[in-house]
Amino acid sequence: MTYLDHAATTPVLPEVLSAMTEQWARVGNASSLHASGRAARRDAEQSRERLAEALGARPSEVLFTGGGTESDNLAVKGLFWARREADSRRRRLVVSPAEHHAVLDSAEWLAKHEGAEVTWLHLEPTGRVTPEALADALGDGSDVAMASVMWANNEIGTVSDVAALADVAHAVGVPLHTDAVQAVGQVPVDFSASGVDALTMTGHKLGGPMGAGALLLRRDAECTPLLHGGGQERDVRSGTLDVPAIVGLAVAATTAVASRVERAARLAALRDRLVAGVLEQVPDAQLNGAPLDDVLAGGPGRLPGNAHLSFPGAEGDALLMLLDARGIECSTGSACSAGVARPSHVLTAVGAEADRARSSLRFSLGSTSTDADVDALLAVIAPVVERARRAGRGR
């Protein structure tokens, strides 16, 4: 089996597994006052401090959630509601059209049900949001509730200069949220230094558990809760703390961040070989997103483990199926829950023609990726693309 889908989820790190197993063997609600509760609370708070440190945040800025989707929903809806409540003119959401559906659909839901108005940001052909584009969309900011621009795109791997974007947003008094699910552990992420008001991260993209994530939320950011109850997490996210998940999340994040530099260099080299090899085997394949060696504000402009390619004339889902049958697992990057492959909304948003958007595959590398994985792909990609092209586009 050749696993080239680490951006979908990546194996749990052994140290995470052992830390979580140890937690699961214990009893204790972190809100209880007795000794078991205190022990659970100590472990949860230690994890909060470690996670905060790894991401350049203060512990009080860490809100544990049930993952990236929940954090995105909380940031978009919570900031929108709180800001509109403070000033009813603030109805506008300024959002990148290449966001994950957790952000896109939250914004569209607010537009449909809460009287919000969405302004879609202009993207560079690479998928990047420039400070100029954001400034344009914000105007004087007086009618804007919040803005959301992802740190790194999950499909094509393009990184945006979030710190520069935060400056632009703050110049007109608008809070900025960033979905950093794919960025943490891959590129340098420092919450305070970036200046953003809210940041989404999740466990299962960095070797932690699924269903565990966090929203980093500045202390001065007002955010209306989605979940009401026991008042945990600064009253913004009620619910008994999932201590094993929180411990696992913190171990994963600290480990991924500590090993980032070395892993990123290794993955970038592997990824470069993968892309060069595919382009050699299939000369008319097209690399999507930023150039492999793109640099942005001193860091990588593209996620080191991301290779996103289009194979004109072939359909993404046919390619996926043929590779799957040969033991190679990757993604079209765009399957919805119903399993129907759609043209990538990210490629469509950057202006790619329909054929390019329908014929794309994402290969994403992670901690367990090896040269053998790349070799396995290169051994089959040419005949697979040829066969998929023969199968045409179904119409």
Binding site: A318, M321, L322, A338, V340, A391, G394
Partner: protein, 355 residues
């Protein structure tokens, strides 16, 4: 052999896929998403491609340990089946969309793609026997689907596998239950999958709008009523004519004339049709020699009747029925069978009823 199992989420295709796995084939499951705006949950017993149905199909595939994908064929289905259905009704004919779907979607779009992707055949849960290139009725006469497969050519049948033809529906459900498939007790789907509420007339009126016209009595030539569109009628129909005639004798639709939007009705003795002309036929195997003694089935759920088939002038067929039949509607298929008690009636081919 590498086979692609078309899995609707129903019990038949689930068992067909399971039998293909048992037979030692390398099986991949595929669910066809045919509706452009898929419902999350099934509504009524008729639909077959909601997200819930895809989930049911995937559950079975995962239990069988076979790869599973959803193919989006909504655009083709809309053009080749739904739009065709509406256009046929607009032209005063009565189409069979299941037959059209088998012809254009399952055994053209899906089969072609499967073959191009390196599969050897497409497996479906149809109740019909197929062996040595011969298509025959299912052993379960009540569930037999050979009528809606009668349009397939020898080339298409060469790429098809119907593992359920030699078993009853009861047996299919028993196999599903033995294997613990959650779909074992799922109700059969009925009628037309893209009209989940079963209201065909309402569906057509939404698509075609109201197009009023007269209802005329054949015997007198008198206008005995009006209607909101010829698409609400099928030749042979008795109920829902909305007419007032002097005598109390029931009237049946005799013919539909789309240009003047005239629906002609008449009494029972006028409804019999003894000679049926068809469009140029398709054959499931070698082209038979004409004239031919055979049986013909003129609707999805009617009995086959003895007939003599000769060649028509325009490349079509002339089918002379031993006994006149009521309700022979243009647009339906006249499927020809060679009766065979022992092995199942053999499907020879079909022609679309002209008119």
């Amino acid at each position: 052999m590498r086979v692609l199992a078309a899995m609707s989420g129903g019990v038949d295709s689930a068992v067909a896929a399971a039998l293909a796995v048992d037979a030692g084939h390398d099986v991949t499951g595929v669910h066809l998403a045919l509706s452009p705006d898929r419902q999350t949950l099934r509504s009524g017993a008729r639909g077959c491609c909601s997200v819930e149905d895809a989930h049911d199909a995937r559950r079975v595939a995962d239990e069988l340990g076979i790869p599973f994908y959803v193919w989006d064929l909504a655009e083709r289905f809309t053009e080749d089946v739904v739009d065709d259905f509406v256009a046929e009704y607009a032209a005063g004919r009565t189409p069979n969309p299941c037959l059209r779907c088998n012809e254009k979607i399952k055994f053209t779009a899906v089969l072609d793609r499967a073959l191009a992707l390196g599969f050897d055949a497409v497996v479906t849960g149809h109740h019909a026997r197929l062996a040595d290139g011969e298509l025959r009725r299912s052993v379960d006469a009540a569930k037999d689907q050979s009528y809606v497969l009668g349009v397939l050519t020898a080339e298409q049948l060469a790429g098809a596998r119907f593992p359920l033809g030699s078993m009853t529906k009861e047996r299919v459900r028993a196999i599903a239950a033995e294997r613990g498939f959650a779909v074992a007790t799922k109700p059969d789907s009925h009628d037309i999958c893209f009209i989940p509420d079963g209201d065909t007339r309402g569906f057509l009126t939404r698509r075609l709008g109201a197009q009023p016209g007269p209802v005329v009595d054949a015997a007198t030539g008198a206008t005995v009523g009006t209607h909101e569109g010829t698409h609400g009628f099928t030749v042979g129909q008795r109920r829902g004519l909305g007419i007032a005639v002097g005598d109390q004798r029931p009237r049946y639709v005799l013919s539909i004339e789309p240009v003047t939007r005239t629906v002609t009705v008449g009494t029972a003795e006028l409804t019999g049709v003894a000679r049926v002309r068809t469009a140029p036929p398709t054959w499931t195997g070698p082209v038979p020699e004409l004239p031919l003694r055979a049986q013909v089935q003129l609707r999805a759920h009617s009995a086959a009747v003895a007939c003599t088939v000769t060649a028509g002038a325009d490349g079509g067929l002339v089918v002379d029925l031993d006994e006149a039949q009521r309700g022979v509607a243009p647009g339906q298929s006249a499927v020809l069978y060679a009766p065979d008690r022992a092995r199942g009636d053999l499907v020879l081919g079909q022609g679309t009823v002209a008119g």
